[in-house]
């Protein structure tokens, strides 16, 4: 009975989101305050209903209700409680429900914090979000109902267990964060659509949109970093990024979202780039939807796509055409009407932000081509070619490094007028410091490596130095630092750290794959790994072996690693748990390969310098974004602005 309640709640939520869309959009169009008044209660009701559905499914998982197909397929009586809850998003149906719930949460937040916006505008924003909710819930109920029951005679005594790949703390919280980022771009998308429907886009619009976009971007950053971290220690071969279609699917919206954040800054400060900002807002969400499409439709095979079904693919495609096609049609009609008030100089801050935008979009395009090329070939009936990591490593680093150069220079430029002569001193000092420190790090600490990596380290240091000039200067002059500036600085520091870390780890990783028996040692530079022993282990739903590997530095024991090999009983799959010891400057990594019989195992031994800083950098970026999004001007001035715009808004409507 209880699972049916969940399904019923979803059906009601679907109807309410329809009401939300209809009354929000039509009410704003007819300037009917009674219609628009329906919108917020509908959002609240929608949220409560989707939350109910979530709670019901969690209840079914926690209480081992194997009569529910989804629970039976993704849970097991031996599965620990934590993973029984996380199993909710362990496969397709539950992931969609989570998507819908997060959208309901974002919509609720928008409804709560948009009271200061002009009523017709807020109503349109929520209306557009209503359409997105409606499509998603329809998709969930029609193709992927998580509450589907098994006939009584087919109810299994025990479930088929959660995919062992997913039984990990980082991966358990990775999807919610990632989805929060993806879905958050729906808010920016809705703001863009609402502005196009109103036919009006001003600096106030950019100010309303910015914090939402930045916040979504923060979640996406952390989500991507968590996924990468998980792949690093769980997949067992020590890499942190594989240019896998599913990774790319989350990376493309991130790149475009980064461009959007910066383009919004120009629109807010100077009222420029209006149509470009709109396009980016549409694009960021489109890529989020495309990500869902790629992961869920099975058009691309990938490490991460656990379920695939062409019927679902067709539905998502129809959804894509409706949402993105609709928004872009609206764009082709309304964007020409937007006028930018002023021009700008070729080396002004506006110009540099534009160049950065171009670099970011180009980077996204490169990833896009690499991800979809196999599909294109397939569709055209040509030989299926795999673009593979080669394409990405040949193209992406160059665009990324060009971007980093643009950041380091552009950060010194002033709004509107372009005179780099003012900042020539800063540019000079920055470059010299970057060269000295960068070369000291890459050549001094690590020795000769790939030239691209050395350039990367230097440029990374340059970004850090460049982004510190302004805040330090302000502090010396005893000026206050706004949260916007602090946030921006931290995020740019994150970029610098990220570039340094990736450059270092790409060039100076030492890895050996060797066969080791008890007592044997493999040398890695100053370090050596000694394979001591192997013990059987047993977990709640798996058994396996755990090795003891002692790491020696200069012959002295430093630490002990415990890589594991686990056999999960129900799905009968083998998982590798790497043994990792993180030091401040490197990771000592060991993973068990295969049993070579006779007590010998193939062991993967690696030293990965600075790798933890890749994820730390993502954390810094997200932190910076969070601080910037909490800047005072988004809260304090909102009320006054809104009052002023509301007047003009009603004047136009009448």
């Amino acid at each position: 009975m209880i699972p049916e309640l969940g399904q019923f709640a979803l059906v009601l939520a679907l109807l309410l989101s329809g009401a939300q869309a209809y009354f929000g959009l039509w009410g704003a169009h007819r300037a009917n305050p009674r219609f628009m008044a329906v919108v917020r209660p509908a959002v609240a009701g929608h949220f409560v209903l989707v939350s109910t559905a979530m709670a019901v499914l969690i209840y079914a998982f926690v209480n081992f209700d194997f009569s529910v197909l989804y629970v039976a397929s993704n849970s097991n009586s031996a599965l620990p409680t934590f993973y029984r809850v996380a199993a909710l998003w362990g496969a397709h149906e539950g992931s969609l429900l989570l998507w819908g719930w997060i959208l309901a949460l974002w919509t609720l937040a928008v409804a709560m914090f948009s009271r200061n916006l002009p009523p017709s505008f807020a109503s349109r924003v929520i209306g557009v979000l209503g359409i997105v909710s409606f499509c998603f819930l329809l998709f969930t109920l029609y193709t992927s109902n998580p509450f589907e029951r098994l006939p009584v005679e087919q109810i299994p005594a025990d479930g088929r267990d959660l995919n062992p790949v997913l039984q990990d703390p980082a991966l358990a919280i990775h999807p919610p964060l990632l989805y929060t980022g993806y879905v958050g771009f729906a808010v920016a998308f809705a703001f863009a659509c609402a502005a196009m429907l109103e036919g009006k886009l001003d600096q106030a619009w950019a100010r309303w949109t910015r914090p939402w976009t930045t916040l979504a971007w923060c979640f996406l950053s952390v989500g991507i970093a968590l996924g990468s971290w998980w792949a690093y220690y769980e997949l067992g071969w020590g890499g942190y990024w594989f240019w896998d279609p599913v990774e790319n699917a989350s990376f493309m919206p991130w790149l475009v979202g980064t461009a959007l954040i910066h383009s919004l800054a120009v629109t807010e400060k100077r009222g420029l780039f209006k149509s470009w900002t709109l396009l980016l807002a549409i694009l960021a969400f489109s890529l989020s939807l495309l990500g869902t499409f790629l992961v869920r439709s099975g058009v691309l095979v990938s490490v991460h796509s656990f379920a695939a079904d062409p019927e679902r693919g067709m539905f998502i495609l129809a959804f894509l055409v409706l949402m993105i096609g609709g928004a872009l049609t609206l764009y082709s009609w309304r964007a020409p009407l937007l006028k930018s008030p002023a021009g700008f100089d070729g080396i002004s801050r506006e110009a540099f932000l534009l160049y950065n935008n171009i670099a970011l979009v180009l980077a996204a395009l490169v990833v896009f081509i690499g991800t979809l090329a196999p599909l294109v070939n397939d569709a055209l009936g040509m030989q299926s070619i795999s673009v593979g990591p080669g394409w990405f490593t040949r193209t992406f680093p160059f665009i990324a490094l060009a971007l980093v150069v643009l950041v380091s220079i552009g950060i010194h430029s002033a709004w509107k007028r372009g005179k780099l002569s003012d900042s020539r001193r800063r540019l000079g000092i920055g470059l010299v410091v970057a060269l000295v420190v960068g070369l000291a790090i890459s050549l001094g600490a690590y020795g000769p490596g790939k030239w691209l990596s050395i350039i990367g380290v230097v440029l990374g240091v340059w970004v850090i130095v460049s982004s510190l000039f302004d805040p330090i200067d302000r502090l010396r002059r005893r000026l206050s630092l706004s949260r916007a500036v602090i946030g921006m600085t931290i995020a740019h520091l994150g970029l610098g750290v990220c570039v340094i870390a990736i450059s270092t780890v790409e060039s100076y990783t030492i890895e050996r794959d060797v066969a080791l028996g008890a007592g044997e040692t493999v040398a890695l530079g100053r370090y050596a790994y000694r394979f001591d022993s192997l013990q059987p282990i047993e977990g709640p739903n798996y058994d396996g072996v755990r090795a003891q590997v002692t790491v020696l530095r200069d012959g002295k024991p430093l630490t002990v690693l415990h890589p594991e090999k686990r056999n999960y009983w129900v799905q009968r799959s083998t998982m590798t748990e790497a043994g990792i010891h993180s030091r401040w400057n490197m990771d000592l990594f060991a993973a068990l390969g295969e049993d070579l019989q006779g007590g010998r195992w193939s062991v993967r031994a690696q030293l990965r310098p600075l790798i933890d800083y890749v994820w730390l950098a993502a954390g810094l970026m997200a932190l910076g974004g969070g601080i910037a999004a909490s800047d005072r001007r988004y809260r304090a001035r909102q009320a006054a602005e809104a009052a002023a715009t509301a007047n003009t808004g009603t004047a136009e409507a009448t």
């Binding site: 695939a308 096609g325 082709s332 795999s386 990591p389």
Partner: protein
């Protein structure tokens, strides 16, 4: 026509492409091959690591065998590799590897590092044999019976469960040790 129409035009073209992609994309769980019940295409390719030797699938006629399509560029092939090693250890049926559009050196390094589950690996540099088999993406695994007929096709990473349910079950009793 103004430049603001361009995005929607590009998008619709892409949507068309995705449409074709989805229509072509077979359902992974029940994916059938046009080859099912038909004779398996003959493979005649150089052996990986030893270009002087040629692998000819006719040599396997008269006994069931399994062919697995893989490449070092394929993420999911890594995922299934452990399972393949375990399968190879059972030694129930010859497991032929079809190394698809790969680099010889990378492929050999892969097998040295991760272990080699294959009784022989054919190097399909041009992807000809993969096309004959109608391979749509790596990894894919086919079961070919003693009469040389394709009996089963699995798309995606091999799992122990699929192996036991779909492959081992198709082995004639006589072939069991």
């Amino acid at each position: 026509m103004n430049r603001f129409i361009l995005p929607v035009v590009v998008f619709l073209a892409l949507a068309g492409l995705l449409y074709v992609g989805v229509r072509h994309s077979p359902n992974k769980s029940t994916m059938v091959s046009a080859l099912l019940g038909k004779p398996a295409p003959v493979i005649e390719l150089p052996v990986l690591g030893d270009p002087t030797r040629t692998f000819n699938s006719r040599e396997l006629a008269g006994r069931p065998w399994v062919i697995n399509v893989w490449g070092t560029w394929c993420g999911e092939c890594r995922v299934e590799h452990e399972t393949l090693l375990a399968i190879a250890k059972q030694n129930r049926v010859p497991l032929v590897g079809l190394n698809w559009k790969d680099d010889d050196e990378a492929a050999q390094q892969w097998l040295t590092q991760l272990g080699n589950p294959y009784s022989v690996v054919a190097a399909d540099r041009e992807g000809r044999s993969a096309i004959d088999f109608g391979v749509y993406g790596a990894p894919e695994t086919f079961f070919i019976d003693a009469d040389g007929l394709v009996q089963y096709r699995h798309v995606g990473a091999m799992t122990t469960e699929v192996w036991e349910r779909e492959f081992l079950s198709r082995l004639p009793k006589a072939a069991m040790p």
